[in-house]
Symmetry: C3
Subunit: 138 residues, 3 copies
Amino acid sequence: MISQQQLKIATRGRGLYRLDDQLGRTVRESGIRTGLCHVFVQHTSASLLICENADPQVGRDLEAFLARLVPDGDPLFGHADEGPDDMPAHIRSVLTKMDISLPIVEGRCGLGTWQGVYLYEHRAHAHQRRVLVTLTGE
Amino acid sequence: MISQQQLKIATRGRGLYRLDDQLGRTVRESGIRTGLCHVFVQHTSASLLICENADPQVGRDLEAFLARLVPDGDPLFGHADEGPDDMPAHIRSVLTKMDISLPIVEGRCGLGTWQGVYLYEHRAHAHQRRVLVTLTGE
Amino acid sequence: MISQQQLKIATRGRGLYRLDDQLGRTVRESGIRTGLCHVFVQHTSASLLICENADPQVGRDLEAFLARLVPDGDPLFGHADEGPDDMPAHIRSVLTKMDISLPIVEGRCGLGTWQGVYLYEHRAHAHQRRVLVTLTGE
């Protein structure tokens, strides 16, 4: 069985946006009990990742790390048409990836206790992001 | 056809733990000849990756690189409840990812000659890690 | 339905090689309308990623970033049998990953407008790279 659905995520600028509830609902509605939940962000300046879900400081530390690793406005970058966060957003997305696959176990995403699934908006300003969810299984 | 199985990996602290044998056995037992082997670690401080499988120096160099990139005890990090390796373990996991999908070819994982599949334990101390394997194919 | 095919990509040394056309053809020939396109590079010194497809400067900036992050000939690395780009190629591949899964939507790869799929050759010299494409869906 295959089921595909597009989610729209309105971001308010750089940071993590949790997707667990929307993914869980999509899996539930599909009726799939065992299988895979593939999630894909159709952009090159936002990504998908799993992060610790309990302490909000983890997301802040991750952002501090990425901001140091890929500094906005770095003179190394020639591509800056859309501002100092343009090229860093592409690199952050490459490093954290735009696709993720989760197991479906007993009709739910088979996440560990401390795992949350997040869209990472890497641009400074708000964006409307399209996320395509493809569920396979039985 | 879908088959799902949980592996338990006892780590002895930070480092790479090869999974090829256990994954190969799981694929063989499923009877699937052509398909995909999805592997997922249900934690936020361990990850899954493919690495060169012949020279143990590669793993040591990768560890040296990650230790320099994401230093334990970095004052940048506010989240340190479980020690100086706590937040670095989360970031290393985000950078190297918790999910991986391998092709199944003629009843085996379709790895290249030099590819090995590894669990990367990012915490300093020993942990029991749950890895969920989902096989699809025919 | 499952379909598997091997692509051979002749690289001319370090850099990005676009795969969209070959992947699109493989999806079209399979007849699959809805599903997943899993792509896997059977090496440990080349990787697969999605990158902005319009401005060639993005690829140059990404290369400049990776060259700074994982310098060729870094004395940190003990594994250098095949030259100063040997270990950096392994690390770049680990950071950008060897597997990627794309959604298949209405018989095509469901990429966003600005997304291109690339093989990243991380070795300085030309190589012949094997890429295994596994399509599932209906």
